[in-house]
């Protein structure tokens, strides 16, 4: 009994074994991601940090099941990933909300795919709309919302189907600093109350340090992990905190060194990630 529980909690919710991705473009093969292995514990907040084209978005696509790795395997909850699944939801930088649906219908979208009855769908959607503080905007359309509000809808839409793993691809990259700050605090509180596992892609060092339990530093061309930092600072974290600033400075130094070693002259305008 006891050992059973132990293995359940200790087994990684997400395991990557020798996962790599090579794209075959018109200019030949591009190695977007060198083989990498990674374990993520349930409830962990992991930030993937790196410059454009370092393969961090590619990695999220592989975990989401939108693309298949060239080599290696992805395991979610011990099962190999062969396609998209309700246990993993990917969120995009622009939110990718559907403009033909209002806020409520957007949040309900995933639930409708599962065939959940209308009444339960509406209830679940409303709980998440309230949770992201968009009460009163249920009938608004996407173009009527600000960037921050759109990302709140995207978060609600992703969490409505109750995934174990939330994959976020630079979700706050297009927001102004103040809105971004607010979204950090809200995401942190949602994460703490739901205990979801979060993989968060960003190129902003302070954002990574403010949010992550762990920060994986990527380098580009070819995409690879060059360093890993464990962030043990108490939460909620402040961007002005000295310890946080120090930590961010150390990571920035690593990033810079990795960038200098990468062959930027070979950079292509369109990043593979």
């Amino acid at each position: 009994m006891m050992t059973d529980v132990m293995t359940k909690t200790d087994a990684p919710i997400l395991r990557l074994e020798g996962v790599s991705k090579t794209f075959n473009g018109q200019n030949g093969a591009v190695e977007a991601l060198q083989p990498l292995s990674l374990d993520v514990r349930a409830g962990e907040f992991v930030c993937l940090l790196g410059p454009s084209g370092c393969g961090k978005s590619t990695l999220l696509n592989l975990i989401a099941g939108l693309e298949r790795p060239t080599t290696g395997d992805v395991f979610a909850n011990g099962r190999p990933v062969v396609g998209p699944g309700a246990d993993r939801v990917l969120m995009f930088q622009d939110g990718a909300l559907f403009p033909w649906l209002n806020v409520r219908a957007n949040v309900e979208f995933g639930l409708r795919q599962t065939g959940l009855p209308k009444r339960e769908r509406a209830g679940a959607a409303q709980r998440w709309i309230d949770a992201v503080h968009l009460t009163g905007f249920e009938r608004s359309f996407v173009h009527e919302l600000s960037g921050g509000m759109r990302q709140r809808v995207a978060i609600a839409r992703a969490l409505a189907i109750d995934p174990a793993i939330l994959l976020m691809d630079e979700p706050f990259g297009a927001l102004d600093a103040m809105t971004r700050d607010l979204m950090h605090r809200e995401l942190e509180s949602i994460w703490q109350s739901t205990r979801k596992t979060v993989l968060f892609v960003t190129h902003n060092v302070r954002e990574a340090v403010a949010l992550g339990d762990r920060v994986l530093v990527f380098a580009a061309r070819p995409g690879r992990i060059v360093a890993e930092f464990r962030i043990d600072l108490p939460r909620p974290r402040s961007l002005e905190d000295h310890a946080l600033v120090d930590q961010a400075r150390r990571i920035t130094a690593v990033l810079r060194e990795a960038g200098a070693n990468s062959n930027h002259s070979a950079a292509r305008p369109g990043e593979p990630g």
Partner: protein, 275 residues
């Protein structure tokens, strides 16, 4: 949630509503002056008596013929016949065109084969199908509807294809990670995402269908708008010909303004394309 309130959307509709009154007044005034001048010139030339009235009637005579035709119910009955035909033909084009456009837009093998066939046929004015249609089906209702379908089908197909091809891949990805599969992916994401482009295809298809119908009806003996044109010619009655032409314009513009324009406005507004 103070920040939340600051982010509340601007009431865009109210704002543009205020500016409409003054901004649209001037173009209408210019239009009235232009058309007034046009009709006046036409009236004077006709009154000068250079050409006989049965060849070049004054606008007042044409308007009289139009009022007379509508008053007797003849033009309205004819318009009703034509509208029924276009409704049937357009509905058929719509059903086939949407399915065909989806297939061509999403399946590469069909795009390379069927796609080029559609593109080729689109270059053929649909009236060119008329002789073949008459050979196959005789001077029948089916022949004329066939020509209408040939007029609208390819525009609709190409509109749907263009829309589906340009569906932002992000929407499809988002739908897939949220669990959308198979047919639902098409009906709930690909088609609605493509709707603005599809609508312009539908609108063009309507225009072509209306033109094909009028051309086809010229050859038919039963009462219809196109047939009234032909009767006017047979009677040496240019006033009737022009009155029916006006009638055809009126019906065409009315459908466009009551069906397609509001539909397009609504879709563009909701998709946020008006900014």
């Amino acid at each position: 949630m103070e920040t939340n309130m600051q982010q509340a959307p601007l009431p865009a509709r109210a704002w543009s509503g205020l500016s409409i009154g003054r901004a649209q007044w001037a173009p209408w005034a210019r239009r009235i002056i232009f058309f007034g001048g046009l009709f006046l010139t036409w009236e004077m030339i006709a009154r000068a008596g250079i050409w006989p009235e049965y060849l070049f009637p004054a606008p007042s005579v044409v308007i009289g013929a139009l009022a007379n035709g509508i008053g007797k119910g003849l033009y309205l009955t004819a318009a009703w016949v034509s509208l029924q035909r276009i409704a049937v033909g357009y509905a058929i084009s719509l059903a086939i065109g949407v399915a065909l456009g989806l297939l061509i837009g999403r399946v590469r093998a069909l795009n390379e084969t069927l796609g080029s066939l559609v593109l080729g046929l689109q270059a053929l004015p649909s009236v060119c199908w008329l002789p073949l249609a008459i050979l196959w089906m005789g001077l029948s209702e089916r022949a004329i509807i066939f020509v209408v379908v040939m007029g609208a089908l390819f525009s609709i197909t190409l509109g749907v294809e263009a829309g589906v091809k340009n569906t932002p891949p992000q929407y499809v990805k988002a739908a897939r990670v949220l669990g959308a599969r198979g047919l639902a992916l098409y009906t709930e994401v690909v088609l609605p995402a493509a709707l603005p482009a599809i609508l312009s295809g539908l609108k063009q298809g309507w225009t072509f269908a209306w033109r094909s119908l009028m051309a086809g009806e010229l050859l038919f003996y039963t009462l219809s708008l196109g047939n009234l044109l032909q009767t006017g010619r047979d009677l040496n009655d240019a006033a009737q010909v022009m009155a029916v032409m006006l009638m055809i314009i009126i019906v065409g513009v009315t459908i466009d303004q009551t069906v397609f324009a509001p539909l397009e406005r609504r879709v563009r507004a909701r998709w946020g394309l008006n900014m």
